[in-house]
């Protein structure tokens, strides 16, 4: 006979306000098989757990039902508690009466009835629960970091420092990311290159770090501790092992009209190129879209001048396969395309630029050598208008607008304004804002300096129209505090364009089965308590791929992600999930449908000999599940037409018992 205990949590007033918890406990006492039922304010607290443990011991409970929050929240906590007093942790069920009941209902009577129904369903299931024991799998002691910006570099360096091997996969020819494109960093105004390029060198020289530049993750198989990753090494047409980075090929290349991505198309580069002087690896790449030899079969100059013989026009994409124990996503961000924001005339005038373009125009290594000149005629701009929140905090999704705040724009605009004033004190600068958001150490002081010391005109209001006319940009705007319309004849307009996730992020999330929010930022396992882990075990998040961040925050998160990876890699074995599928060979017809739907490739088919009732033998094809690879998603169990596939802990009979209890 089963002896089941039911424990009903108040969760303060979270549950108790909408569910009569005492009535739920009382109802439980009348359910056959239940020998003990009790409600308590906070079941997850130490004293709540003690209550459960004492009852297990006192009544010799064979099953436990906790009516509380989502199992995602505290199932682990309670399983640990019951296993400490000798009960198999898988003989515990959670009835979620918070997220799925009290939080979504207002009427206490209805809420209570539903909570009782959920409790009864859980009791019906726990009656059929069988004790389960988790298996163990070894951990591959190597980590993969996807993205070689400041986030990916920091994570890789920290993991390598702890003594583990790390590979960085970077889609561009060099690591460095967006930070390498910046001029100065707020709020200290230290030179971005001066702090990021030594880091790039550290990464490049670290024996434990291998950089796969100009490469992309093509496929991911496996699971935490044992990922099997296919990396596509795009054809570079230059042998990385031979190229010395001398740059002679770039000099001689006759095709010099290629928009330079590093300077956001503000100047041109050659078809064979090294993105910038401090690139790591400092290896040339041939752009297959522009190379004359690759497109027309004429030229071959770079090959002739290369002393190292590194040029190989016959290069092809190559796939390599590597095993990893952990994967870190550090894919960062892109600047939103603002061409749909036509009121700002971005596509009509070259003098309307995004902030990142402005950054390049200020940068000593940029297209103007750091001399601020506007793109149309190369003149010094005397009046500059900065427009904040272009595409951020905007609900018009047709224009690609983002509902979120991009977080970094207020600060970098204050930086741009001050740097411009430093170099050219006679410049008149206007900043149009919705709010100025400067939380952060020394951030508000920084912004106040722009207003008070530098005399930057901060105007609360919106720019309605930018009209290019006779070499000027006529900016029509409203000043909300003065309640006035104003017109400014500007030489340049700088748009603080929203940042958005890397365009490769969505595809990558699919490969990793990592979840994303509606804006395509990666979702963390818990917004407060597990901020650097993805809900997918073994996948970690570093930097802006999880949401807008500035550099210090990115570096902090990168370190946190690294420490989580180190924690994982330091284990020799991982305890697996015992809730895996298994097939009843007597019922299996060998139809292959389960293997087709399995997203993890955990199901294989074997020919097996069976003894028939008449003492003959017969060879049949049956499904077999690899429990180390199975993630317990249950896709096979619902697909199986003969009901042979079953999931431990969520068996067909258990689910049916739950449904029966709910319908009773």
């Amino acid at each position: 006979m089963q002896k089941i205990g039911v424990f009903v949590c108040h969760c303060g007033t979270n549950i108790a306000a909408t569910v009569d918890v005492e009535a739920v406990a009382e109802a439980a006492r009348h359910v056959p098989g239940v020998v003990y039922a009790q409600d308590y304010t906070y079941m997850c607290s130490q004293s709540g757990q003690d209550l459960i443990k004492d009852a297990v011991k006192k009544y010799g409970l064979t099953g436990v039902v906790i009516c509380s929050c989502s199992p995602r929240m505290h199932e682990k906590t309670f399983r640990k508690a019951v296993s400490s007093v000798g009960l198999n942790p898988y003989l515990l069920e959670i009835a979620n009466i918070r997220e799925q009941c009290s939080w979504v209902h207002k009427d206490k009577e209805i809420g209570t009835q539903k909570a009782i129904a959920l409790m009864k369903a859980a009791v019906a299931k726990v009656e059929l629960d069988a004790p389960l024991t988790a298996g163990e799998t070894p951990v591959v002691k190597r980590a993969l970091v996807i993205g070689g910006g400041i986030a990916g570099m920091q994570t890789a360096l920290d993991i390598a420092d702890a003594g583990y091997d790390v590979d960085i996969v970077e889609k561009n020819p060099t690591i460095g990311g967006k930070m390498a494109q910046l001029d100065k960093t707020f709020p200290t105004l230290d030179c971005s290159s001066c702090i990021v390029t030594p880091k790039m060198v550290d990464v490049g020289q670290n024996d434990r770090i291998h950089i796969y530049s100009y490469s992309e993750v093509k496929d991911v198989k496996g699971f935490v501790g044992n990922f099997h990753v296919t990396i596509r090494r795009k054809a570079r047409y230059v042998d990385e092992t031979k190229c010395t980075g001398c740059g002679l090929c770039m000099e001689k290349c006759p095709m010099k009209k290629v928009p330079n991505e590093f300077n956001l198309g503000l100047d041109k580069r050659s078809a064979v190129y090294i993105p910038f002087a401090q690139a790591v690896p400092k290896v040339a790449t041939i752009d297959p879209n522009y190379c004359l030899m690759l497109n027309k079969g004429v030229c071959g100059l770079c090959s002739k001048v290369c002393g190292a013989g590194a040029i190989n026009y016959k290069d092809t994409d190559k796939d390599i396969e590597v095993d990893y124990g952990a994967i870190v996503v550090a894919t960062g961000y892109e600047i939103m395309d603002v061409s749909k924001y036509d009121e700002y005339a971005y596509s009509q005038s070259p003098d309307v630029v995004t902030s990142l373009e402005y950054e390049r125009l200020m940068n000593a290594a940029g297209p103007t050598g750091g001399d601020l000149r506007r793109p149309s005629d190369g003149k010094h701009p005397k009046t500059i208008v900065f427009v904040q929140c272009v595409g951020s905090r905007e609900c018009d999704s047709k224009r690609g607008g983002k509902p979120y705040c991009s977080k970094i724009c207020c600060m970098y605009t204050a930086k741009h304004a001050m740097l411009t004033k430093d170099h050219y004190p006679d410049t008149d600068i206007y900043v149009f804002y919705i709010d100025v958001r400067t939380p952060g150490k020394n951030f508000d002081e920084f912004y106040r300096r722009a207003v008070e010391q530098y005399g930057v005109h901060y105007i609360k209001g919106a720019v309605g129209k930018v009209t290019p006319e006779n070499g000027k940009l006529v900016v029509q705007a409203s000043d909300l505090l003065m309640n006035e319309q104003m017109t400014i004849k500007a030489d340049m307009v700088v748009l603080a364009a929203a940042i958005e996730p890397s365009h490769s992020a969505r595809h990558l999330a699919t490969l990793l089965t990592a979840s994303m929010d509606t804006n395509d930022w990666f979702t963390e396992a818990h917004p407060k308590l597990r901020p650097v882990e993805s809900p997918t075990a073994g996948v970690f998040l570093s930097g802006v791929c999880q949401g807008p961040k500035d550099i210090p925050e990115t570096v902090a998160q990168a370190g946190a992600a690294a420490s989580k990876v180190i924690g994982l890699l330091s284990k020799d074995k991982l305890t697996g999930n015992p809730c895996v599928a298994h097939s009843d060979e007597m019922m299996c017809t060998g139809c292959s449908q389960c293997a087709d739907v399995c997203p993890y490739g955990a199901i294989t088919y074997v020919d097996k000999e069976f003894r028939m009732p008449d003492r003959t033998t017969k060879i049949r094809r049956v499904a077999q599940v690899n429990p180390a690879v199975c993630q317990g998603c249950g896709a096979c169990t619902v697909t199986c037409p003969s009901g042979a596939m079953d999931l431990n802990g969520f068996s067909n009979s258990e689910i049916m018992a739950e449904v029966d209890a709910l319908c009773r």
Binding site: K340, Y341, D342, S347, D396, K465, T467, P468, E469, N470
Partner: protein, 263 residues
Amino acid sequence: MVYNYFPGCTLKEKAKDFDKWGRDCASALGVPLTEIEDWQCCGGVYPLSKDEIAVRLSSIRALAYAQAHGGVLVTLCAACHNVLKQTNYDIANDENFALKANNYLAADGISYHGEAKVIHYLELLRDEVGFDAVKKAVKKPLAGQKIGAYYGCLLLRPGYKMDMDNPENPSIMEDLIRALGAQPVVYAQRNECCGGYLAMEDSELPKKRVTRILGNAAAQGADTVITACPLCYYNLKKYSQDSGVKVRYLTDVLAEALDVKEG
């Protein structure tokens, strides 16, 4: 295919040519317009307050008529188009408004929930006729003319309701101008307000606005500006002297190119 047509009051009085050229061109292009029966003034301005029901009933009657006669309603006047299209959107999407409006109209035996399709004359040319077909029908190409399209505000905004073109960087009129053999002139002020009805109250304001708009058009090289709105036409024309830019209706240049203008 029946193209029900809602001309609107102004096209029967101040802007008779605008209307006539529009109809003649439509006939020449094989999409003759059929004026709907017993239409009443649309109200001229879309009422912004949600509880204004009665003033929108005339629009709904016109829409219901169109629904009963093929389902398409063509407008030419930008203001009428704005009122009819927005009203049609509201009655399809705002249950409360639909209920109250239908309560009024029940007496006439009308039940209407936004089923008709409202298209502007420009959309008729672009989507039904096709600009390629317009180009082929041109008898006197407007070669050498530099024409700026003036959209104003009513034709395109609010963008999600009007759904004709990108409200901040439209191209439909430019495409038409190109089809007519003229050179379209793109200028940033082409979708800014001319001042509209404020001409009644403070004539300085439309003057300032028009100077700005036509100045911008002239600076970009336009010799002519075309519009689909009688009110814009009035304001633009009144203050066009300084800029030296000619102001014409869009059907005027269309009729010229198709050679359907008399005399």
